[in-house]
Amino acid sequence: MTIRVGEAAEAPSFQKAAFKLLDDAQLRKNVRHATDVITGKRAIVVKEQQDWQQLRATASAIKQHTLAHLDEYLLQFEAACTADGGHVHWASDADEANRIIVDLVKQYSGKEVIKVKTMTSDEIGLNKAFEANGIHPHETDLADMIVQLGHDKPSHIVVPALHKNRQQVREIFMEAMGLAELSDKPEDLTNAARRYLRDKFLNVNIGFSGANYLLADTGGVCVVESEGNGRMCVTLPEVLITLAGIEKVIPSFRDLEVFLQLLPRSATGERMNPYNSLWTGIGKGNGPQHFHVVLLDNGRTRILADPEARQTLHCIRCGACLNTCPVYRQTGGHAYGSIYAGPIGAILTPQLFDMQHSQSLPYASSLCGACYEVCPVKINIPEVLIHLRGRVVREQQSGANIEALGMKAMARIFSSSRSFEAAQRLGHIGQWPFVSEGWVKHLPGMLGNWTAVRDMRPLPKQSFRSWWREHEKAKKENADA
């Protein structure tokens, strides 16, 4: 099994990427503006929802319950969806999901696919797989379109192009759509997207979507969106393929009364987003005549196996933790190297990889707790971050790297007072090349990380313990004399 999370496995560490991005004043301005607007709107509509805490508690309980019986609920979903004419496929990892989806498109002789915004398809790298097979995917969400046409990467779960301002969007559209003239007014840019995509909606025969919720009791799917591109993709084509992580299933239709109150207020600061589409299999409406659901694992069952971190799978992808995070608000999403950015990305991405990649992400946080406070499904992100830091350290300790060896040696030295004092004496002798004017300002090698941002005092000629021994000895001798 090979787990892929976009291109996160090859990404530089968060600290390295962030260092560079912090220099991009335009990006920081764009991110600050967007996150300020959403957090402001969210605060108003959350305050007005007087049973917010009760909704959060129920949502968390539903998710916890569903995960504890995930096998049963997935099977129930599969049975109900199949009974209504849908087909359910299971994929252990990204490659398997891509293979299933590409084969389906080929089976229906598709050359183009219209796509509704789905982070999961970015996770598995579906567009690349499509292109490698001569299939052209059209992203239809405005922000996803900006990202796709600009050969860029998403930087936010809900508003993937929030790092771009109107002038930048204008340039991308003019070039990709071959327009000679276009203003930078958001109305005009939006209209350009409408004209560009309408023809695709009417003529492309295969639609592709993610899922906000899979309903176990009905076998239904719920897609939450704003623009109407989602409705186009799930109703107009003859064939519809839906990709969903296995954690997206909820027990029943009724549970939507909880999640549909939490998600829009958290995600975009609206009482309700413009459109929610619900459908079950095929046949009961004038929609697609062929419907396939691909259920994706890609590392999720590993997260499930960690009792302290499985709450990560409660996530409903609202993005509230990104908008409120003091770290994300400075760096934007690209620093995280993963399509899942911000606090939730910092815990989700490394776990999907079973901590084999993205180990710097659990450190991309000040542990201030703002993410936990806004999370509509009560994921205790700081707790999981600390837990994952522990896993990173344990992983590193088991390896043979210099830091791990150094720490092991240190542990031995610190375990006996004799070796500790011997080390102090050695240190006192060994430090002389680095002492200048009574300070140690530069240390060599890895120790340099410490002195890069602070000076330290050299080891004294005599340690306190040795002075104390002498002092006590002298006192005793004086008393004896």
Partner: protein, 212 residues
């Protein structure tokens, strides 16, 4: 597809292994026991609920009109005239007596996708509406309420509930049908968080509330 069958078993096995400790409880009973202390039913009177529905829709840039049961047709005529609209696609189950004379109507099932795309507007009723969120819920009629640039929806007073749970309870019997929740015209805030009306769906949402 033997491979697919393998992935299915493998995923289910991994889930069962991961859940080993948590098992043993009967899932139906456990689900029933989930505490739902959030607000289920409204504490507002009828008038306040209706006002809230109109206010919230208005905030989404929808236009609200009122009619009595016997003035639906004349109200539709007034709305369309004010917009210079001469025709519309009409939902199959929309009562013919509610359609005013002097306009050209076409039923949704008799319309091609191309006709829907070029239509001046669409007219339908709804199943339930939610005041708390300013939402209209449609059964079926998915394309005709999406492709034309204008969508006019006739909402009867007794279809309007206040809370989301009240609406979901009414929808329970239709839960396997295609349902669409509409809260205002199509919109986006993807460019600099500026709310723009009408990206791909109807740019205009008009709602006629019929008082009993």
């Amino acid at each position: 597809m033997p491979e697919a069958a393998n992935a299915r078993e493998a995923i289910l096995n991994r889930i069962r292994t991961a859940n080993n400790a948590a098992k043993a409880t009967a899932h139906a009973a456990e689900y029933q026991a989930i505490e739902r202390s959030y607000q289920q039913t409204t504490n507002l009177d009828r008038e306040t609920t209706l006002q809230r529905f109109k206010d919230h829709l208005h905030e989404y840039d929808a236009h609200i009109f009122e009619a009595a049961p016997d003035t639906i047709a004349t109200t539709i005529a007034e709305v369309l005239k004010s917009l210079n609209q001469k025709s519309a696609i009409v939902a199959d189950n929309f009562p013919v007596e509610a359609l005013p004379a002097g306009f050209s109507w076409r039923r949704e099932s008799e319309s091609t996708t191309e006709q829907l795309d070029t239509a001046e507007g669409g007219i339908s009723a709804c199943e339930v509406a939610i005041a708390h969120t300013g939402t209209i819920i449609l059964r079926g009629s998915r394309k005709m309420t999406l492709l034309p640039d204008r969508f006019l929806c006739v909402v009867h007073e007794n279809q309007i509930v206040d809370t989301v749970p009240e609406a979901m309870a009414r929808l329970e019997q239709y839960k396997t049908e295609p349902l669409t929740f509409v809260s205002g015209p199509s919109a986006t805030a993807d460019i600099e968080m500026t709310r723009i009306r009408g990206v791909h769906g109807p740019r205009f949402l008009d709602v006629i509330v019929v008082r009993n």
